[in-house]
Structures are given as C-alpha cells and as structure tokens.
C-alpha cells in the first residue's frame, strides 16, 4: 500500500516537473535551451562511449554484410560480366578478322582489275609435305584450268610457280626454293639475270653483267622473258651485291617482296597477257616509270 502511494506521488511529481519544463520552454525558450545545453554536455560525453561502441559494431556488421553476405550476388554478377567480356572479346576478334579479310579482298580485287594478265584466285590450303622443298598447296587444280609452269603472284609480287597439279589442287614451288628459277631484271639499271632461291630462305639474282652498277636497295622485277610471268612484277630488293675476282658475272642476294610465310590467297597467272593492248599499256607504264627521276 505504501509502495503504491509512493509511486503515485512520484508520478505526480514527474508530471508536474514535465509541465513546468513545458511552461518554461514556452515562456523562456532561450534560457531553457541554454540550461538544457549545459546539462546535455556531460551527458553527451557519457553517451559517446557506448555510441562509438555500437557504431563500430554497426559498421562491422555492415562491412560483413556488404563485404561477404551481400557480395554473393556481386560474385555471380562478376562472373556474368566476365562471361560477357569474353563473349565481346570473341566478337571483337571476329569483327577485326572480318575487317582484315575485307581489306585483303579489296586489295586482291583491285589487283585483279588492274592486272593485264588473266588470273585465277586460289587459297593456300597447306604446306609442302616434306621439309626439303619450299612449297605450298593451293585449292585450285586441273579442273580449274591450272597447269604446271603457271606463275603465282600476290598484289605485292611474285610468289612462285606451279610445279604439280592434280584435279583439285596444285603445288607451288616458292621463289625462295633453290630449285626455282625466274628471269628477272633490275628495275633501275635494266640488267637482266636469273633469280634463284637459296638455302637460307632468300633468293639470289645471278648472272648480272660485271660492268653493271647494281647496288643494295635496287628493286628486281620480272623481265617477262619466261612464259609464266608478265613483265614488271616485283620480285624483291637487292640487299647485298657480290663480285668475286675472276668471276664472269656478279650476283646479289634478294629479300623477296612477298612475305611467303603469311600467305592466305594468291593469284595463278593463267595467261601472262590478256590482250595486246593491255600489254602495250603495261609497257608504256613501265617506260613512264623509268623516265621519272
């Protein structure tokens, strides 16, 4: 009974204090706020410790949640993004390859349109079956009109000549093979010679006259004297001229114009000159080039 009375008195006291506070806040707002601020300062300091503790726990939980639990989906998302990147990389590569192929075909088409020869486009489908010959296999054969001794070129220059054919494929002996020989002429001095392959994977211009003034850097083109190639197709550039005492001729090493290790498409020359007009035009072009300084 005493407890209940005491409680009742305390409640009344609390209500009265709260009413006084409200009245004070209404009647004396600035003074009451200063008072509250003064009282709240130490209280705030007391509260700061548990606040910091709870805050650190909260941050810890948040970190754990964001760093581990919530990252389950991020991990999955990351994997998906990686897959997307791989897919896009693949598509990008395919597109680049397509662009390269289109550029290559454009070059081939331009060459075919400008070339005075009748040519047949062919793809390189393999390399020589042995290690002893520098040759390549083309996907065109006798059924396409390919015959032995036909020349093979790219827009950059001479590749080689056809040495074997069957109905669906043919074998080309490259210009760098020692068994190959093509009639060539030095573009600047007009000295003629025979271009043969060497054991080192290059070519050599043989039988250059002793009095010739050929020098490194001179370009060598086909002379047109042999049936396989028309006149003026690039073979390569001289990189070293050799003249031995007592020899009747000079010889010079040639760096081939065409990178023979990276060939995909080539042209087989089925007829060196399509017609006489084209041949004449080509000759005029060549002579015109010679007159230029």
């Amino acid at each position: 009974m005493a407890i209940s009375r005491s409680t009742y008195g305390t409640r009344r006291l609390a209500i009265v204090l709260f009413a006084c506070l409200l009245i004070a806040l209404f009647l004396l707002p600035s003074q009451s706020q200063r008072l509250l601020q003064y009282v709240g300062g130490p209280l705030g300091q007391v509260l700061s410790l548990p606040l910091a503790a709870f805050s650190s726990v909260d941050h810890g939980i948040a970190d754990i949640w964001n760093g581990y639990v919530a990252l389950q989906s991020v991990h999955e998302e990351n994997r998906q993004l990686h897959r997307d990147i791989e897919l896009l990389k693949g598509q990008n590569n395919q597109l680049r390859e397509s662009v390269t192929a289109v550029q290559r075909y454009e070059t081939l088409l331009n060459f075919k349109q400008q070339s005075p020869s009748q040519t047949l486009a062919a793809q390189v489908i393999g390399r020589d079956a042995t290690n002893w010959y520098r040759g390549m296999i083309l996907n065109k054969g006798e059924s396409d009109g390919v015959k032995t001794e036909m020349g093979v070129v790219t827009p950059a220059g001479v590749v080689g000549r056809v040495v074997k054919t069957n109905s669906t494929s043919s074998v080309v002996l490259l210009v760098t093979d020692p068994n190959n020989a093509i009639a060539g002429v030095v573009q600047r001095t007009r000295d003629e010679g025979i271009v043969e392959g060497t054991s080192h994977g290059r070519a050599r211009l043989k039988y250059i006259p002793l009095l010739s003034r050929v020098q490194a850097g001179d370009r060598v083109v086909t002379s047109g004297l042999t049936g396989a190639f028309p006149r003026g197709l690039a073979i390569g550039s001289l990189i070293q001229v050799e003249k031995s005492e007592g020899d009747l001729f000079q010889s010079a090493e040639i760096e081939p114009e065409v990178d023979l290790s990276k060939l995909d498409e080539v042209f087989i020359i089925t007829a060196p000159y399509e017609d006489a007009d084209a041949a004449q035009k080509l000759l005029q072009t060549i002579h015109g080039d010679r007159k230029k300084p």
Binding site: R127, W132, D177
Partner: protein, 166 residues
C-alpha cells in the same frame, strides 16, 4: 580391322601433315608423320605391312610435295620395310631401341632427299644436315617413341596371342 586402320592412316596422315603440323614445327622443321607411321606399322605389323603403307603414304606425300615423284615413295616404302625387318629380328624392343631405330631410319631417308637436292658443296650438305636432317630425326624419334609407348601394351598383348596361337 587392320585394313580399316591402315586406310584411316593413309587418308589422315598426309593431309594432317600438310595443313596443321606446321604449328608444331621446331626451327621450321616438322616431324615426318608418313615416315613415323610406316616405321611403326612395320615394327608392329611386319615388313609387308610397313612396305605397303609406306608406299601409299609416300605416294600421297609426293602428290603434295614440290619434289620428284619417286622420292617419298622410295624412302617411305623402304623405311616401313626396314622397320619391319628390324622388328622381326629383335627379341625385345624397348622405347630406347625404338627411338634409336627411328632416328637412324629418319637420317637415312633424309640422306636420300639431301642427295636428290644436288647440293653445291660440303657447306650446303652440312647446312642441310644441321638445319633439317638432325632436327627431323630428333622429332621423328621422339614422336615414334611416344606413340610406341602408347601402343606398346596392346602390341604386347597381340604378340602374346600370336605366339600362343603359333
């Protein structure tokens, strides 16, 4: 079954060699799959099998090579036959013996090629030996020994069955 296996080898080996094997070349030299196949078949199946398969593979290789038409026929056929003779007269063939045998046969075969190239002098011969013959012999021997290790168990079983039947 044996006929089908040989037919498969004949149809697959040379196209594989000409199209895809350059990815596995060492210093620009590829193993001669035709030679290895002919020798293995000779070792395991006898000189007649080795000779016939060697002739067929050699013929196919000649068709897809810039060289003369006889070289591969002769060298591959001969290699298969030699391997068959060696296999018949050896009581115990180990991978080391197989490696050495294949290296020797490969060198002999390459010597024929080198001779057919008409080298201008000793310098060119030595260049051919250094750059092609020895490398190819190493590759052929390694490939052949590897394949022999793979098929040895089966071959031993077959041989035991054959000996048992005899």
């Amino acid at each position: 079954m044996k006929f089908l296996l040989y037919l498969l080898l004949a149809l697959v080996v040379v196209p594989f060699q000409t199209t895809l094997l350059h990815y596995a070349s060492v210093f620009g030299v590829r193993p001669d799959l035709g030679l290895v196949a002919a020798c293995l078949v000779g070792f395991l199946g006898g000189e007649l099998d080795g000779l016939i398969l060697g002739l067929i593979l050699g013929c196919f290789q000649d068709m897809l090579s810039a060289g003369d038409l006889w070289i591969n026929v002769v060298t591959k056929g001969g290699s298969g036959f030699l391997a068959g003779l060696a296999g018949r007269h050896m009581a115990h063939i180990t991978p080391a013996v197989m490696t050495a045998g294949l290296a020797i046969i490969s060198c002999l075969s390459s010597a024929v090629f080198l001779y057919s190239m008409n080298p201008a002098g000793l310098d060119e011969v030595w260049l051919g030996v250094r750059s092609t013959v020895l490398v190819q012999a190493g590759l052929d021997a390694a490939l052949g020994a590897g394949l022999y290790l793979v098929f040895r168990q089966r071959w031993s079983d077959d041989r035991m069955v054959t000996e048992g039947a005899l």
